[in-house]
């Protein structure tokens, strides 16, 4: 099983799209390739915006879960 290196944890709760995407886009430049950002958000828009951003920038969406209105997701920097 591969280990997950969470290098950054972001609290994006209360922020409306596209600001969570903007924050992830900035944060990904600050972590090492192969490492992961874990973030929590409340705007359901991230459930579409983050996977689409990952697909278009060549990063990987490791996981995305929603519980009690809070969305938790992990993005891995690939390059």
């Amino acid at each position: 099983m591969s280990t997950i290196n969470i290098e950054k944890v972001l609290d994006l709760k209360g922020l409306l799209c596209p600001i969570p995407v903007v924050k992830i886009s900035n944060a990904i430049k600050e972590i090492e390739p192969g490492n992961v950002i874990e973030a929590t958000a409340t705007d359901p828009g991230v459930m579409m915006d983050i996977p689409a951003w990952c697909a278009s920038t060549g990063n990987e969406l490791d996981s995305m879960e929603e519980a009690g209105g809070v969305i938790t997701f992990r993005v891995k920097r690939l390059k």
């Binding site: 409306l16 799209c17 596209p18 600001i19 995407v21 903007v22 924050k23 886009s25 900035n26 705007d43 359901p44 828009g45 991230v46 459930m47 579409m48 915006d49 996977p51 689409a52 951003w53 697909a55 278009s56 920038t57 995305m64 929603e66 209105g69």
Partner: protein, 419 residues
Amino acid sequence: MDTREKVIQELDKRYNRLVGTSATNLCTHCGWCIESCHIFKATGNPEHSPVAKAEKVRRVLKRKHDWLSRLFPKWTGAKDLTESDLDEWIEAAFKNCTLCERCVINCPMGVETPQILATARGVLTAMGKSPEILNQLTDAAIAREENMEMMEGFFRKQIANLEKQVQERMNDSNARIPVSEEADILYVPLSGAHTMVPAALIFNAAKANWTMSLFEASNYGVFVADIPKAKKVVERVLKEAKKVKAKTLVVTECGHAYGVLKWEAPKWFGKQFDFEVKSLLEVMNDYIQEGKIVLDPSKNSEPVTYHDPCNIGRKGGIFEEPRNVIQASSKEYKEMTPSKVENFCCGGGSGMVACSEWTEDRLLYGTVKVEQIKKTNAKKVVTACDNCLHQIKELGEKNNLNISVSNVSEHLANALVFS
């Protein structure tokens, strides 16, 4: 081909009558436009005046397109392009102009400064020099369609959660958020729930025959003036409108998205669409005028003012509908001064809100808006564009304005009476 030649080639591709007349000899340098720009007013920096910003591009265009400048460039201030000019263009066209068009209506000659600067935006994008985040958001919108198999699952899950909220608020288990089904109205939201839940409440309350689009209305392609990509973003919705047999495409409260779908897209595609394009503002107003929804204005008891988004008001021509909606759903309405066609931009338009490297500048550029809001003594600011919404919220926090901020549909939904 060197950088200079490539820039000139890209400029030539975008050279049209509007840019041509504004860029060559129409401007008399009278200076009337200077005080009309919220960015100049906020900083007092002469470099931030509309005429100075346009001049950075105009000088290069003149060198090629104005006969006098070809012969005697020193007389007219025309110059050959240098690489450092491009850095100045980034500042002038992306950071220091929100393309709000207030200077245009205050120019006695009708000089289209924002058209000149939008042209520069397009050239900078072609040269790989426009803000990365704006290009990323454009590409993400296109990826949404290309990866729809995976995305649709996320979207439907999100909508199922929101539908429950709508049912609870309406106390009606039959209330629905249909997604991409056959319907008279195709409603195109943004990504955020605040553009979905209030609209769903309103459509359900009015018993409309509607469906929610799988796509979001925003189109960052226009902010970087990348028209081929902007067209791709629009095409997703056009295909869907055809699929669901929509008679009306209703655009959510998003300034540039309304401008794109109502005014730009028919030109880009060279045809009128088979459906009508309306703003949600117009539809809400229709429902009130037709008695399709019942409102209790006492539910919005605080004094409220309205900020005209540039793309909805000055550039879109929608002024009275939002005011009618707000007045019908509030106890006390306060008009901002100046407003409507002369309203000042909030400082967050045309992509600024997403460019985090310029956050401090953006908040400074909202100085005029802060003063306008203060003078109304309103406790709530309602607007009809997400860029404005973000910006005014941040301005309120930074300047301790003690205001709440919402879009018009949230404000109206708060006053809805469900039978």
